[in-house]
């Protein structure tokens, strides 16, 4: 028992030291990064969420979205990639706040998500993905919205 306790203590201490920089899984991003959810512009939200790191434009992430969305209340988005991603997030400039959804990809799983978002007006949608090695990838697409969602 003694030894087990001691080991556990060690593990907890190690986890506490490592937690801020490595394993972001099992983190509620709303609690961890409150500023990112208040930012109005994508650029500010990305900075608050991922820091000042350099953003690399990539074509290795598949980002499927309609060019013209007839109904801004429900815009289908698909994200998939074979890259080793830790966190992938979607930001847009159409709504009062930029951050829309942040996925924490569990260990060993691949990014393959489909979901729907709301947009008030035509705007650029930015995807930012953080790889396991810390590299930040980004890609953006403009989506035309003919009828705004979000009650607008």
């Amino acid at each position: 028992m003694e030894r087990r306790k001691f080991l556990n203590l060690g593990l907890v201490a190690a986890a506490a030291v490592l937690a801020p920089m490595t394993n972001l899984n099992a983190v509620d991003f709303r609690e961890a990064k409150p500023d990112a959810w208040k930012a109005e512009k994508s650029a500010d939200a990305i900075k608050a969420m991922f820091g000042d790191g350099e953003l690399k434009t990539t074509d290795k992430i598949k980002f499927v979205a309609p060019k013209l969305a007839e109904n801004g209340g429900s815009i289908p988005i698909t994200l998939s990639t074979d890259l080793d991603i830790e966190t992938i997030a979607l930001f847009q400039d159409a709504n009062p706040r930029a951050a829309t959804i942040v996925f924490s990809v569990p260990e060993g799983q691949k990014v393959d998500y489909s979901f729907r978002i709301k947009m008030r007006q035509t705007a650029v949608v930015t995807i930012v993905a953080k790889a396991k090695d810390g590299t930040l990838y980004t890609l953006a697409k403009e989506i035309d919205v003919s009828i705004g969602g979000c009650g607008g």
Binding site: D28, R30, G73, N95, V102, G108, Q109, F115, G149, C150
Partner: protein, 100 residues
């Protein structure tokens, strides 16, 4: 808030999941316009046993009744997939479904 529909199917080791969560997903501004209370899901976590297979932090800018499709590996038929939702008031709801 609270209801959800989960469909999970395993094939060749990959489990494909479709999940719909009932929520108005009304953010502050939208709620004011419609004269309702802001209500949206802020956090979704999906687990098989103790293993997290899906995790997302969301905002009110997801479409109403968000439908999320994703796939994961490492589970088999008969395993139970459970989802826990947290809304903007801090309430949580859990539901589970067997993988087919």
């Amino acid at each position: 808030m609270g209801k959800m529909k989960i469909k999970a199917k395993e094939k060749d080791g990959v489990v494909k999941v479709k999940a719909m969560f009932k929520s108005l997903m009304a953010d502050k501004e939208e709620a004011e316009k419609k004269k309702i209370e802001a209500a949206f899901i802020t956090y979704i976590v999906g687990k098989v046993g103790d293993k997290v297979v899906f995790e997302a932090t969301t905002s009110g800018f997801m479409a109403e009744n968000p439908l999320i499709k994703f796939s994961f590996t490492g589970a088999k038929k008969g395993d139970e997939l459970s989802f826990t939702l947290t809304d903007n008031h801090g309430k949580t709801v859990t539901d589970k479904k067997k993988i087919k």
